[in-house]
């Protein structure tokens, strides 16, 4: 199927790209165990002193907790709004549908710096004060296109005769949704929610406009630490983020596999 020489070039380039993508992640984890204030390569010994310093820093712990809370709210919000919107777009016909899909997807296209600034002006006019509700609402907006797309692509494959059969047998619409539709699309809703979670957890450019005082997210704290005080605790914080943003989706995928297995 492939010329030997070309295939070697593809393999070589791929290995190079893998190296470039994995190197930053490995370096972050390695540096978090580096004993010195300014990490050198290769480290002469490993130490957990920055982990101790990290655990003693209440501000960093608070940021991790706040980010997790916001990301969980964003995931729930995207799960609900994404499912309803996807159901609406797949099941019903209405005018301007093609254009309205782009409207739902537009948070992907508007640069985050503009989303950040525009909503700051807007919420200022509306009179909402900065905090959990504000950030969570905006993170639902940013995650919505991803959740919507994932759930919609599952609904396209959905066999609607199953619903008709349930209703013919006397089930109400609500019961049909609860017992037929929902279990079948649940794995895709979970995927959408997990995506919304990691997007919210990592969003920086727009979020820097919305944080205030103690209600600040991890990426904003990391950025501030890098700009102002150079402290190796940032590597520990980044390592925790790495663990959270890899573990949560991985667990999600395991649950999803379980759900798919039981519903089919």
């Amino acid at each position: 199927m492939k010329g030997r020489w070309n295939w070697r070039a593809v393999k070589g380039l791929s290995a190079f790209v893998y190296l470039a993508m994995m190197l930053p992640l490995l370096v972050v984890v390695l540096n978090s165990f580096h004993p010195d204030r300014i990490p050198t390569f290769p480290p002469k010994s490993l130490s957990i002193r920055w982990y101790e310093a990290f655990l003693a820093d209440q501000m960093l712990i608070d940021a991790l907790v706040f980010s997790t809370k916001i990301a969980a709210l964003a995931a729930i919000g995207c799960g609900i709004v994404g499912t309803l919107t996807a159901l609406g777009f797949v099941r019903y016909d209405f005018p301007l549908k093609k254009g309205l899909v782009i409207a739902v997807l537009s948070p992907m296209l508007v640069p985050p710096v503009i989303i950040g600034l525009a909503s700051t002006m807007f919420f200022g006019e509306v009179g909402l004060s900065r905090g959990t509700l504000w950030i969570a609402t905006m993170h639902v907006l940013i995650g919505l296109p991803y959740a919507f797309l994932v759930i919609r692509s599952r609904l396209y494959l959905f066999d609607e005769t199953l619903e008709e059969a349930a209703m013919t047998l006397g089930a109400s619409r609500l019961r049909t949704f609860r017992e037929i539709t929902f279990p079948i699309i649940a794995p895709s809703i979970l995927t959408g929610m997990v995506l919304a979670f990691v997007i919210s957890f990592g969003e920086f450019t727009a979020t820097q406009f919305w944080v205030v005082g103690s209600k600040t997210t991890v990426p904003v704290v990391i950025y501030t630490m890098l700009e102002t005080l150079i402290t190796p605790k940032v590597n520990v914080l980044a390592t925790f983020v790495l663990v959270v943003t890899i573990a949560i989706p991985a667990i999600g995928m395991l649950i999803q596999r379980q759900l798919t297995a039981t519903s089919e």
Partner: protein, 306 residues
Amino acid sequence: MSTPNTSVGAEVSRIKNRLAEHRYLRLLVAPGVGLLWVTFFLFAPLGIIVLFSFYGAGEYGAIVQEFTLANYERFVANPIYHTIIAKSFGIGVVTTLIVLPLGYSLGYFLARSDTKYKPLLLGLVVVQFWVPIIIRTYAWISILGRRGVVNQILMMGSIITEPLQLLYTMHGMLIGLVVSLMPFMILPVYSAVSTIDDDIIQAAKTLGASDARAFYEVTLPLSWPGVVSGILFTFIIAAGAFIAPQLLGGPGERMIAPVIADVFLRDFNWPFAAALSLIYFLLIGVSLYIFTRKADLEEALEGTAL
């Protein structure tokens, strides 16, 4: 004994059913939720930007609510802002041109390889999507620094004698951008190439096409939707980059997103920040318009949500 309950229950479910069947209510409940969300939290704020861009800026971040063109005049009179915008779009193009061949190679490799480690290799790419860009970017500070991994390895191998200045340069910034945006090209290309039937490529070769020709005339056109999706995301995100220019770029590498944030968050000049945002937004709009003449926007946006 349960008669009242049952009849109430039956009544409730009948009302629920009738509500559920009501056409307009259904439209409001279903697609309407998402549309309301983007209308309130995206389109209305964008409208506010237009309004603010015509306000005046007073001292200490005060906003003078009188119609003025001063912000646009300031933009037109200061070539520095034109340079910043041109540079941002230029960096968007350059990043895309580097990401395209590299990301395509990996996506193609993943789709065509028969290694048993494929799930693992695919997983390593997906993980890049999950880990926040700020972490994947700032890590380069200690990799590219004068005593960082790259310089140490090059010096140990005696390839160079003096450490290279990689950090705080255009090169450093491009490395950070290219690597962090790579998954946006890899995944759509992977999914596009894996749908291509191997028999079609074989047929082209049986008919006498060389490897190169089979690639350019069969594989590449068939994987084009994936490429288009990758180009769209890479370009838009790179042109609007904030973290890489701030953490890895030199002082000369001013890009539009950090400049707008500075005007807004440091100078507190909301009206001018609004005008800059609007100009930037319109130029993104023009790019998207050109894009839609060549490709389907919705299809391209679907590319990353796999």
